[in-house]
């Protein structure tokens, strides 16, 4: 990677930036889930590692969250953008060198930010925990160069139209810069009080709604038609999805603060808009599942489709929860409980991770021109992720319902803690399975780069048989 930082743009092999981003994202996924597993162990066994400021739960929880969001998820997105955008434009990435620098700065900036965060240098704002100098690094060093590369690649494309995936990529790379800039304004400009509280959740909501959800969906719009060979079921439903994301998903930020003393009109408005996120959700899920028509055997046989369609199907419970749990009728019961922790992991570890994993699996094989090293290990990874995640989600949902009941029946809090204990152990087991699965994945992708069957020119990776 380093030798390309100062090479001429035309001397850098096409796809280098995407490959670096791909491997970086897997490494960050291993790191992030290792921290998640460690944190979960501390919740299950509070005296597990103790007496150290650096290894205390309060110092590590936010590092886990941001390592998976900015390390795993966002770098997998960057990887997907850097090979899908040119592929859909029948062109090369606008600047491979910018991409390589982007990946270098991403790893350096994120490592620095998380190191500081780990030491306790925090803004004290959930999801925007990074102190503001690091926020500026994230915007200028990570997000803006990515956006420039995506936009210029679309601009210099050699086909007439812009495919659905690229609408989402272009819009999301623009919106995420706005979200980071405005969402961190309380730190840049010392905004205080309810403005600070509201903007904290405005940021948290919009990072999910205008960055993670649309880009993950965009990946599915590419992978499913590409691998199955079926055309996208409906371009128009794709339109509906795109426009309803922009209109409905950008507005319900206040539903995260239903019990805060915010203006009532804002909470009511956010709640109604929050139900309307079912429009893009239903459009997305139906479009992708109908694209699978006639190719459902690939859901069982093909690892990329297995991951993608599992992720798409997870969008169903995700959005049924997301649409309704924020209404006043339900929010008072589940807010602030493990239910929300389960929901957040359904969004990031369920829905979006499965889609990104497919993009990284497929992209690395295509770019390296190597067939996946081992199908067995890939299936092992899939099932570790699925069973681990499901264990986590079910146990945390139950824990959340216990907390909710404890809340309304005014049970002494310690009794809730005692009742939750078995589920805290189950969450740790589930999270550890995800971590172990990811270690296997890293090995599998490394061996693919080293020893995978070479894919002949003109063939696609999924057309070749596995050797292992």
């Amino acid at each position: 990677m380093f030798k390309y930082l100062f090479a001429k743009n035309e001397d850098i092999p096409a796809g280098s930036a995407a490959v670096f981003f791909g491997f970086s994202s897997i490494v960050w996924f291993v790191v992030g889930t290792a921290m998640g597993s460690f944190n979960a162990a501390k919740l299950a066994f509070p005296d597990f590692v103790t007496g150290s400021e650096i290894l205390s739960f309060g110092h590590m929880r936010q590092v886990h969250v941001l390592a998976v969001i900015l390390g795993w998820i966002s770098m997998a997105f960057a990887m997907a953008m850097m090979y899908i955008t040119p592929a859909l434009g029948n062109t090369k990435l606008w600047s491979e060198k910018l991409g390589v620098w982007n990946c270098f700065l991403w790893n350096v900036g994120l490592s620095l930010g998380l190191f500081l965060l780990w030491l306790g240098v925090t803004s004290g704002r959930e999801y925007s925990d990074l102190p503001w100098p690091i926020d500026i690094v994230v915007i200028i060093g990570l997000l803006v160069p990515l956006g420039i590369n995506v936009w210029m690649t679309i601009k210099t494309r050699r086909v007439q139209g812009i495919y659905t995936t690229n609408w989402f990529f272009a819009a999301a790379t623009f919106m995420v810069v706005i979200v980071f800039t405005v969402g961190n304004a309380p730190e840049f400009f010392q905004l205080t009080g309810l403005t600070e509280a509201y903007l904290t959740w405005w940021f948290a909501h919009n990072v999910l709604g205008l960055w993670i959800t649309p880009v993950a969906a965009a990946i599915a719009y590419y992978v499913v038609p590409k691998v199955t060979g079926n055309p996208l079921y409906s371009h128009r439903i794709g339109h509906l999805h795109f426009w309803s994301v922009v209109v409905f998903y950008s507005t319900p930020a206040a539903h995260h603060l239903m019990s805060a003393p915010l203006p009532e009109w804002l909470k009511s408005f956010a709640s109604v808009e929050g139900v309307l996120i079912l429009v893009p959700a239903i459009a997305f899920v139906s479009n992708l599942l109908l694209t699978m028509t006639g190719k459902w055997r690939m859901f069982v046989e093909n690892i990329e489709i297995k991951f993608t369609i599992t992720g798409v199907m997870m969008a169903i419970p995700l959005n049924m929860q997301g649409g309704f749990q924020q209404t006043r009728a339900i929010n008072w019961y589940v807010h602030g409980t493990g239910w929300m922790v389960a929901h957040a992991h359904l969004a990031l570890l369920g829905f979006s991770t499965f889609l990104e994993a497919a993009a990284v699996y497929y992209g690395l094989q295509t770019l390296l021109r190597r067939k996946l090293y081992s199908l067995g290990l890939a299936n092992f990874h899939f099932w570790m992720l699925l069973i681990g995640f499901t264990t986590y989600w079910v146990s945390m949902t139950i824990a959340g319902l216990i907390q909710g009941a404890g809340k309304i029946y005014e049970v002494p809090y310690i009794d809730v803690v005692i009742a939750e204990h078995p589920y805290m152990i189950a969450r740790w087991v589930g999270g550890t399975m995800v971590f172990l699965g990811n270690c296997v994945w890293l090995y599998n992708m490394w061996m693919t780069a080293r020893a995978g069957t070479v894919i002949p020119a003109g063939r696609l990776p999924h057309e070749l048989a596995y050797e292992r």
Binding site: P46, T50, G51, E53, S56, F57, G58, H59, R61, Q62, L119, V121, T122, S123, G124, R125, E126, I154, K155, T156, R157, A171, M175, P186, E187, Q190, L191, T192, G193, L194, T195, E196, A197, W202, V246, V247, S250, T251, A253, A254, S259, A260, P261, L262, P263, W265, L266, A270, W332, Y333, H335, G336, M340, V341, Q403, K407, I408, Y409, I414, V417
Partner: protein, 316 residues
């Protein structure tokens, strides 16, 4: 090939996204900006100081650059007996809170009173200042304002500090930094839910309770009790001390981490704390080999633990 064939789409995108941002950013901002600070908001920001997260004066969140809260019964200047008063002492170079720097944050009437009656804007960071929160009646309504008692009564920071012994000093601002840095708010919310929660954890905050405070650290993921009014439920310093050192001493089923490292090297009497010996003795106790757990050292005045206890006890 340019984006030109997407002219309509690009404009529609601008309109849709722009409208969203107008409704979710501009309109709430205008609404929230019109809110007047309550007494609670003034007490909170005066006790916490300028900012509770990363800042120039305290980049590593060690609690530097924070005011001291004192409870006094004697006038610092004249020595005459006065009503018990809570004063916020800003020694020179301690940054003032946001409501003092930008009076507009306090809302129309409170900022006007703080400036005219309380002489708040006469305060100078280089000289230091002492503030108190007062209330007055305007058109039948009680309005709080901030009084700069250094200007109105001549209470200097040094003289005010001298009137309060250790028991009457609280390092609430430093404690808030500890609360943020140690991530207490990952498990303890500072915002009761709109439910029976109000009976268990107390009244929900009001619209103007946060003007000038940053970060608000409401928390979102509750794994322990809500702390909005914890000082009203439990005001025992000794209980807090045991609980922070090792929560299992007072609540065997607690899953809270131990915060013994916040005690630092020495206890209140200057004696070094032997953590290894303490843990070994505690393990004996936990195994049932001894009847009593080892003594928990009293935290030193300048320790982080002391500040955190001050902060928690004062969440009334």
């Amino acid at each position: 090939m340019a984006f030109r064939e997407y002219k309509v789409g690009a404009r529609m995108f601008g309109l849709a996204f722009g409208s969203s941002m107008f409704i979710t950013l501009y309109m709430p901002a205008v609404d929230i900006a019109s809110v007047s600070a309550t007494t609670t908001a003034m007490e909170r920001q005066l006790a916490f100081g300028r900012v509770g997260g990363f800042s120039y004066e305290d980049p590593f969140l060690r609690g530097h650059g924070k005011p001291v809260t004192v409870d006094i019964v004697l006038d610092p200047k004249t020595g005459a007996a006065i009503e018990p008063t809570r004063a916020y002492v800003y020694t020179p170079e301690i940054p003032f809170p946001n409501g003092v720097r930008h009076p507009r944050i306090l809302g129309e009437l409170p900022s006007e009173l703080s400036v005219s009656k309380g002489r708040m804007t006469d305060a100078d960071e280089a000289q230091g200042a002492v503030f108190v929160v007062r209330e007055t009646t305007r058109e039948g309504i009680s309005v709080p304002y901030i009084e700069n008692v250094t200007a109105t009564r001549g209470w200097t920071p040094e003289a005010t500090l001298a009137r309060a012994d250790d028991k009457n000093r609280a390092f609430i601002g430093k404690g808030k930094i500890m609360f943020v840095r140690e991530g207490c708010w990952w498990c303890h919310t500072m915002l009761p839910e709109q439910t029976q929660d109000w009976q268990y954890f107390g009244a929900p905050p009001m619209l103007g309770d946060f003007n000038g405070e940053s970060p608000t650290a409401f928390g979102s993921d509750r794994k322990g009790p809500d702390l909005t009014h914890v000082g009203s439920r439990n005001s025992s310093r000794e209980w807090m001390m045991l609980h922070f050192f090792n929560p299992r001493l007072v609540q065997p089923h607690s899953i809270m981490p131990r915060y013994d490292y916040m005690w630092g090297d020495v206890d209140a009497d200057g004696r070094p704390i032997d953590y290894d010996a303490w843990r070994a003795a505690y393990d004996e106790y936990e195994a049932g080999n001894t009847i009593y757990p080892p003594e928990v050292p009293v935290p030193a005045v300048d320790s982080e633990a002391r500040a955190l206890i001050d902060f928690i006890i004062n969440l009334k």
